[in-house]
């Protein structure tokens, strides 16, 4: 027995030395014991082939350990797992590495942040990217940094933008080839959005794609006057990548001010869009705009899911996205051609999507000074909540909210570094919003099942080859559902709203599932 323990320790110690090469990231699906990127793989599926936890034994789940971050606020990280070590970020730009077997900390990191920062929605961070022996973090003070995987020591630190102008990062970076890709936050403050790539070894900036075109650039005329200078269009959720097409798919957020369009007449490119970028130079290959001239804060910052399927009699490379504006879209990801869209909940701002993919806008619901009730509300039918695609069921699992809001609008002068919303919006006082986890057919947009949440959600979904979906609600319940039918298999109350999404990994040939909740990372496995 002692010899066996020694052997495991030696193997584990050896594994800690492993480097995460780009080739390993490309083949992440072949390493189900690990979780190597924000969505687990470049295609954005948030799915694992691990299958020890199944529909028949999920009721035997039990807590294995808890790791306390030691800070307050929303815990939005999606941790990475590499060869027995978990790497995560926390509130206020904390970070940590922990032993995946025991939950014990290996190192902790705390960014020394300036006093005055203005992230719109909390001092949050959504996680690391990893490449080689470096972890990459995009920070609240608009820097991109690299940490050493073994120690958490700072390896490089570069400034992306001026945080005094309310530029900030909350995104988990994506490592592609030799570079680290990030997208800026600040759409509530009239920033000019961008997506950057940095050299993973040195931190040198390789390219920048400005999400609001400058004079002379294609798309600039979709902005009135100087409104482009404060046009917003952040890019605050991690994109996905197709190595065969060598295209990076990165979604963008709302135009600024978010709820008053009078000063920014036009389509406002490239707001609320899907961008297909060449990762070698940041050049735009194609774009698709979901919500032109958005008045309702419908950021398209939902993870694009890449899947290959038969479509109208021939194999096709597809991109699916359940959009915050309430419609589920499928595009051809080679050229951005619109294939179809279908509402996946109650939508009033548009009566449908036309054959070219343009919304048929309900013009009677423009925001007014008196207030207009619009569905979905400003938080959207879905939001940053990570969706999951299971190739076994062909379903995409999406957390949704029923909230409708009453929007009022008013012109608002721009002040650098201050809120730039042009509006007031409040939830409909008559109808308390609820939520659900919906299973949507990836190729038709049809709803297959819906599991009701009491409150509107903040967390996403993880599906596995065990035929289960792990999800979390805003009332602290960590939930396991049957992926085919949505039946409730098991749940546990963890005491705080869930703002993130579960990941799964394997240690000692045992499957674990971990979920950030409150200020802690909880790990579960099957009871021995």
């Amino acid at each position: 027995m002692k010899n066996a323990s020694l052997l495991i320790l030696v193997l584990a110690a050896a594994a800690l030395q492993a480097q995460v090469t780009y080739e390993r990231l490309l083949r992440a699906p072949d390493e189900p014991q690990n979780w190597l990127t924000y969505s687990g793989r470049y295609s954005g599926w948030h799915y694992s082939t691990l299958s020890e936890i199944t529909t028949t034994n999920a009721s035997r789940l039990a807590m294995k350990w808890v790791f306390q971050v030691g800070d307050l606020g929303q815990f939005e990280t999606t941790p990475l797992v590499v060869d027995g070590v978990i790497y995560g970020t926390g509130q206020n730009d904390r970070a940590f590495a922990i032993d995946a077997r025991t939950g014990r900390a290996i190192w902790r990191y705390q960014r020394n942040l300036p006093d005055k920062l203005q992230p719109c929605c909390g001092m949050v961070n959504r996680g690391f990217a990893i490449l080689g022996n470096r972890l990459f973090m995009a920070t609240l003070d608009a820097h991109v940094i690299a940490l050493d995987t073994k120690t958490g020591n700072l390896l490089w630190d570069v400034t992306a933008a001026d945080h005094h102008q309310a530029y900030t990062f909350t995104v988990a970076p994506l490592a592609v080839k030799n570079e680290v890709v990030v997208g800026i936050s600040g759409g509530e403050y009239g920033v000019r959005g961008f997506i950057d790539a940095y050299d993973a070894a040195t931190g040198k900036r390789l390219w920048r794609f400005n999400t609001v075109p400058a004079p002379g650039e294609p798309g600039h005329k979709t902005w009135k006057g100087d409104s482009w200078k404060t046009g917003g269009v952040p890019a605050w959720i991690t994109g996905t990548y197709d190595p065969e097409l060598n295209l990076l798919y990165w979604p963008t957020g709302n135009p600024s001010p978010s709820n008053y369009g009078g000063e920014r007449e036009g389509g406002n490119l490239y707001s609320d869009s899907m961008l297909a970028l060449d990762p070698d130079n940041g050049k735009l290959k194609w774009y698709f705009q979901f919500t032109p001239h958005d008045l309702y804060d419908y950021d398209a910052t939902q993870i694009p899911i890449l899947l290959d399927a038969e479509w109208e009699g021939r194999p096709r490379k597809l991109l699916a996205q359940a959009n915050r504006n309430g419609f589920f879209y499928v595009l051809d990801r080679t050229d951005g051609k619109f294939l179809f869209a279908r509402a996946f909940g109650h939508v009033t701002w548009a009566t449908g999507i036309d054959q070219d993919g343009k919304p048929i806008v309900n013009t009677s619901l423009k925001t007014t000074p008196e207030g207009t009730r619009v569905c979905p509300g400003a938080l959207g039918l879905t939001n940053w909540y990570t969706p999951s695609y299971s190739p076994e069921t062909g379903l995409i699992y999406v957390a949704t909210s029923s909230e409708c809001d009453i929007f009022t609008s008013a012109p608002q002068p721009y002040r650098a570094g201050h809120d730039f919303l042009g509006s007031v919006y409040v939830p409909d006082p008559v109808q308390r919003p609820t939520g659900s986890l919906k299973a949507i057919d990836a190729l038709t947009g049809a709803e297959k099942w819906s599991f009701p949440y009491f409150s509107n959600p903040n967390g996403g979904a993880l599906s596995t080859a065990g035929g289960v979906v792990f999800a979390g609600d805003s009332d602290g319940n960590f939930i396991v559902l049957d992926a085919k039918r949505g039946h409730d298999l098991w749940h546990v109350q963890l005491g705080a709203a869930i703002y993130s999404t579960a990941i799964t990994f394997e240690v000692d040939q045992k499957q674990y599932v971990a979920i950030p909740v409150g200020s802690a990372l909880f790990a579960f496995g099957l009871r021995e």
Partner: protein, 200 residues
């Protein structure tokens, strides 16, 4: 914070382009303000107190300074927190705007429950009515009409339903005439919180 940053639709309270830290400073200032001492309505607070604790039955459901029922909101600070017109509406037409219950500090985007009417039906067919102190996907914690705290797992219930109306009955002119309403409001206006030593 939401009221200051986003304003109140339908009123003259506008949105404000202030940072969270600035708003929190304003909130701290507002909370530090001593409650105003002047009472803005006519009426006799002493008579109003008798009405509150007497035949009209307010204290059956509402607590003031540690005395009274637990079904409705505690009113010990209601004079500092609510306008006269709001109080009048709450008495004459309790369904007009339901009071908010507990807010979850862990849920940044969440909304509080409201004092609506909750009905649960057990598997044996028993119907229980009350207000929800808390609720989630799997359970509900209620104060029943009998003012008992009860917790239910939803899997043990046939039905949980919310009706958007208050359990408080409307007090019309017949039940509470204008003069007595004035007295009651004038008493409620005096309720501005208490020091611990004043708890009876």
């Amino acid at each position: 914070l939401r009221t200051i940053s986003q304003g109140v639709p339908g009123t003259e309270m506008p949105a404000n382009a202030l940072e969270d830290s600035e708003i929190r400073t304003i909130i701290a200032y507002l909370r530090a303000l001593a409650p105003p001492r002047n009472i803005s309505v006519a009426g006799d607070p002493a008579k109003g107190k008798k009405i509150f604790f007497g035949d009209v039955g307010c204290s059956t459901c509402h607590m003031v300074e540690g005395v009274g029922g637990v079904l409705g909101p505690d009113l010990s600070r209601v004079g500092a927190a609510r306008s006269v017109s709001y109080l009048v509406d709450s008495i004459r037409d309790p369904d007009k705007e339901l009071s908010s219950g507990m807010t979850d500090p862990n849920n940044h985007y969440g909304l509080p429950l409201v004092y609506d009417t909750v009905t649960v039906v057990t598997t044996s067919g028993e119907k229980i009515i009350g207000v929800a102190r808390n609720e989630d996907t799997y359970s509900i914690q209620m104060i029943t009409m009998a003012q008992q705290l009860q917790s239910f797992l939803k899997r043990d219930l046939k039905e949980v339903s919310h009706q958007r109306r208050s359990l408080m009955p409307p007090y019309s002119e017949d039940a509470l005439d204008a003069a007595r309403l004035q007295d009651l409001i004038s008493y409620l206006e005096t309720l501005r919180g208490m020091d611990e030593k004043e708890v009876r």
